[in-house]
Amino acid sequence: MEETQTPEPAGTGQPVVCANCGQPGIEGDHPTPLCSDCREKFTKFPIPIWIKLFAAAVVAVMLFSLYSLPANISLGIHLAKGRKAAEDRRYVTAERELKTFTDKVPGNTEARERLLVAAYYNEDYEVFSQQVGKLEHVKMDDDEAYRETDRVMSDAEVLVPSDSFKVFTGSHPELNGVPDTAWQNYFRSNPDDNNARIQYASLLFDQKEYSGCDSIMQSILAAHPGNIPALMIGASAKRELGQYDSALAYNTRILAVNRESVMGLASEARTLLRQKEDAKALGMALQSYGLDEKEPYAQASLILAYHFNGRAGDRDALIKKAMQAVMDSAGRTTLQYALDVISKKEKFRD
């Protein structure tokens, strides 16, 4: 596979004629003596039809490749950004990028594993459950993504009610009215039921039993140190107890698990508002709201931050926007709390 050049003719003293046709009248001072017709002919040395067809096929394949290239590059960028964000524990970004990728490339197991992890840490349990279902019978490689998925699945046991707890809730349809002794008996029989503990801690929080709530959280966190729902309840309980440094320590732990935790950032903003660090709190609340504008807890936190920073115009505009958004009863309760603080029905700080 090479190119070969013709040697230059040696001078013979004879009149120079065309090396191809023997006619006199050589064109120009070139290494090969050729008349103008022959030079023209050889500079346009014919390309055989089969080579032209081959070249056309190669060009057609190239055009097809160029057509499909932008879509694949774009998908590759989504996957790379998703992976990088997951490595950096920026799970809102990771979930967004990996969701876009898996919608177009549903067969990629690694992306689905990472999406499962991101959705879990974002407390997006709808997407989390979908990924669990889709990965159920899929063979997974024993790699870093799989190990992280395994850790998350083990942590997620806190979300799933045990059969015993289902029996317990079946016999006590109104958990609010369950006597404390019944709970104690249940935990004596089921000492490892952390889902029941979370439910019980939430009830205690609603009943303003913050110390009891916090001590239950400690026991859950001993088994699941990075469990975000437990850390969130812990942070709220400490804030209500006025132990702001402890509340912030919980928030730090949440943000160490997920640097883009919408709830973690909003919770920290509320604690800072309690400490009257209003400007810093506004920054946190804006960050949280920027990550998920539809999350009622982030909306309510930003409304409070605007309120305590004296930005009544922004506060009212956000209240109007949040009220117009479709919201479930829990969302409405969350928003109502902020409205009650503003109308001084609820005491937020001195």
């Binding site: 190119e3 050049q5 290494p31 030079r39 040395f45 390309i47 394949v61 290239l69 998908l75 960028i77």
Partner: protein, 176 residues
């Protein structure tokens, strides 16, 4: 593992044809007469282009290294979109594998041959060759010889894979 050279050449024949066609097209572009073209044969060399020595030394170098440019660009463009489904997404179909085969076989024949290097070397030795052309030409000859030596250690195949597989991942790393 020893694999006979002719078998590799046979398997990657599209790259040989593109290589020779690139020489021919560069000659046509610079109006250099071509006297014979063998696009592919089961022999050594697997293909060649017999053409007049270029009066312009820079054009001569470009004719010699033309396939390096053409085979690299064509191989990369063909393999680029398929490399991601095959090596990154793990969701490739048969067509993706065909594109990877074509891209790698074309890119691995990008390296100029020793015959190409000899043409540049002869041109460099001539007294009327401008200094700047020599400045460019000698390193090119050196690189071609190195590449030629490296092909004994599958450097040409590694280059083909690098272009077809490494380039898309590099692009994504730069863009993400």
């Amino acid at each position: 593992m020893f694999i006979p050279g002719f078998l590799i050449t046979l398997l990657t024949f599209p790259g040989v044809i593109v290589h020779e066609l690139a020489h021919q097209l560069f000659c046509r572009y610079f109006k250099i007469p071509v006297f014979k073209v063998v696009y592919f044969q089961l022999g050594n060399p697997a293909g060649y282009v017999l053409h007049e020595r270029a009066s312009n030394k820079a054009q001569g170098i470009l004719v010699s290294i033309g396939p390096f440019i053409v085979n690299t660009v064509v191989g990369a463009l063909i393999a680029l979109p398929a490399a991601l489904p095959v090596f990154t997404f793990h969701t490739a179909g048969p067509l993706d594998y065909v594109l990877i085969y074509l891209g790698v076989s074309i890119a691995m024949h990008a390296f100029p041959s020793r015959g190409d290097a000899n043409v540049i070397w002869e041109a460099m030795k001539e007294s009327n060759t401008p200094a700047w052309v020599k400045f460019v030409g000698y390193p090119v000859v050196g690189l071609i010889y190195l590449g030629s030596l490296g092909s004994f250690f599958w450097l040409d195949l590694l280059y083909g894979i690098g272009v077809a597989v490494g380039l898309p991942n590099l692009i994504i790393r730069l863009l993400s």
